[in-house]
Amino acid sequence: MADLGRFALLAALALALYALVAGMLAGRTRRAEIAASAGRALGAAAALEGVAAAVLLVALGTRDYTLRYVAAHVSNAQPLLYDLTAFWGGMEGSLLLWALVLSGYTLAALRTVRRQRPALVPGVAAVCAGTSSFFLLLLTTVASPFATSPFPPSDGRGMNPLLLNPWMAIHPPTLYLGYVGLTVPFAIVCAALASGGHDDAGVLVARRWLLWAWYCLSMGLWFGAKWSYVVLGWGGYWAWDPVENAALMPWLVATAFIHSVMIQERREMLTRWNVVLVILAFGLSIFGTFLTRSGVLSSIHSFTQSPLGAYFLTFLALALLVGFGLAAWRWDRLRSRHELDAALSRESAFVLNNVLFLAAAFAVFLGTVFPVVSEALGGRAINVGPPFFDHVVVPLALGILLLMGVGPLLAWRRASLDHLHRQFLAPGAAGVLAGAGLLGAGVRPAGAALAFALCAFVAATIALEFARGVRVRRAHRGESAVWALGALVLRNRRRYGGDIVHLGMLLLACGIIGSSAFATQRLATLAPGQDAAIGEYRVRFDGLAQETRGGALSIIGRLRVFAGTRDLGAFEARRNLFLRSQDATTDVALRSTPRDDLYVILAGWTADGRATLRLLVNPMMMWIWAGGLVLTAGAVIAMLPERRAAPQVAVPAPGVSAGGAWSPGGL
């Protein structure tokens, strides 16, 4: 079986290399049959990767411990579902997943590109094949999932119990869908630059792919935060860990692109900038995979000691060289047709938003690689922790939040002061009222109250957008308000999908502000029957219990929670001790309401039955999770194909609204 898997990967590598050469040759000679041959080779490579993946899945499912990978990530006691998710629980398997997802994307991309821009097919095939070749090279040399051991153990080591969680089962594949999805825009842009004759540099074709990758990255980050909150038992959801930053950086760059591409569509400006963003996003996705899979950021020395690190950095350098090299070669052709008309316009708001997003991405990058850079420059590794990120990223995020409210109110090309006055009066008043109200109600720190006021301002601008659209529809067609709202969103999916995504981000921002500014915690050691108060809650400790389940001994702190005199019911805070592996996991007692979360960790216990509890009240956590759901709704609406999609891609006429026939809000 293992031989079949190994053979399939080797054959896939050969086919991918062939497709790389054939694609480049087809691009040079412009012969369609060579390009078709490259496409067929990629199809066959995808099938072979599918075979390899099936072999690995069967081996994981049947617990075939002759494979080292299976022995390392599966154990007899592990539930079958998690045996299968062990596919992406380790490095080799997740690289195989990368290659497999890339092949799927490649085939889909070739189909759509063949329809929209046939001239780009050879280039897309070549770039995708090149990236595939790299991952297949890793899979057949330094990171083979099919390595066997001559003396297979009778039981495997299994995954770390922390990973045995539904959120962790879906978090990596979602994130990978995003990372890998950034390859396709890169391939399209490289193909357009190489073949020439595409004044948009392929950016407009790449947009939809990048949007999808952006959405997957968002969801991946969201699932990861949820996992961290529910499973890791430290009360937080984001720790500026290098692995988290690895996913945040491409997300920031992709978010910048989603905004700036609109300017290219409408005004044929910023083409160069968008090309750079696509290349950067791809580079960061490779960098992120590398970080997640090697964790080498503590020291520069481990860079050179890990064979994987050298491979990844070489590929990254090569990819950036190709991308930026092609961009430099066509630089003059990508000149903007128009220039900024006025400093006060929607375009300049978008440009500023892009600068802020890139500044945030740069700050995160700098903080993440700081130990390595400082060691290379000064000989000593210096770490910058969460204080650095909070200090740098929070002001940038607030600036972005402000622009989220201001941008949609500004007219394209040139905003008049009179117009601005009308636009900003109501939302501005809402913001000021909210701020004054919160400060008057004694909300401190004042910074948090002001941040909420900013959120209120942005929410008012979004509400106003919807209200205007609904009013216009009702006036023209006499529809009911609900019907008009639904029709409005569905007929202008990109615009209102974007607004809904903004609403989701706003909920997320409120959740982050609330939970980081107003969280309280305390530690209490209680005997049975005693209680501890935190916030409005009173937690009574009702004694310890024990239970063995799935190879783990669980110590259970039985709790009863009261709010005032109201009984909120029984809760359990557990600590699970895995006897074989010295691992321990925490199951927190969690009660969520839109107002706040009560989060209780069983920190310790004594022989005489007392327990030490860590009690936290995290306000507005639910808003973060709700924000993710709203963001999903908005992204799905924005990604649904428009009914009149075709003319948009072909020749974007300057100044013509791609939205609806009517244009409220100074469009």
Partner: protein, 144 residues
């Protein structure tokens, strides 16, 4: 190429405004980054380095190493944790009170942040443990 629009002078003025704005943002970012580094920077050290050059290092450092087997002690109420961090040669006692990561256990790699006390105990305010499956250590013997 902007023959479509009259008034190139005005446009140049806008470009100037834009360039000035970009410069202001870059300066602001540099200022933010500088402040952030001032706030958040801590040195990475190994146990051996900390013992030899304690005086030459800033008070607050990040210490990396392995939890010495058999050294983990909790107090009765499980509030305070004591253990020893070793780099294979030198060993240093650590005291910590706070959230202990689930993956913390003897023999695992940890990073503690804090200060070295007069009595030779490292007072840690942060305790991070490396997740063995998420981070595949490149070379466990020499990582720090």
């Amino acid at each position: 190429m902007s023959a479509v629009h009259p008034g190139r002078v005005g446009q140049r003025r806008h470009t100037l405004v834009f360039v000035c704005g970009a410069a202001a943002i870059v300066v602001a970012l540099a200022y933010l980054v500088y402040g952030g580094i001032q706030q958040g920077a801590t040195y990475w050290v190994t146990v051996g380095e900390l013992e030899q050059r304690a005086g030459a290092l800033p008070a607050r450092v990040r210490l990396g190493g392995t939890v010495a087997p058999g050294s983990v002690r909790w107090d009765a109420s499980h509030r305070h944790l004591r253990f020893a961090v070793t780099d294979g040669v030198h060993t240093l006692p650590v005291a910590y009170a706070g959230v202990v990561p689930d993956i913390f256990s003897e023999g695992r790699q940890v990073v503690v942040e804090g200060t070295l006390g007069r009595d030779g105990t490292f007072d840690a305010t942060t305790l991070l443990a490396k997740c063995p499956t998420k981070y595949t250590p490149a070379d466990p013997a020499s990582s720090r």
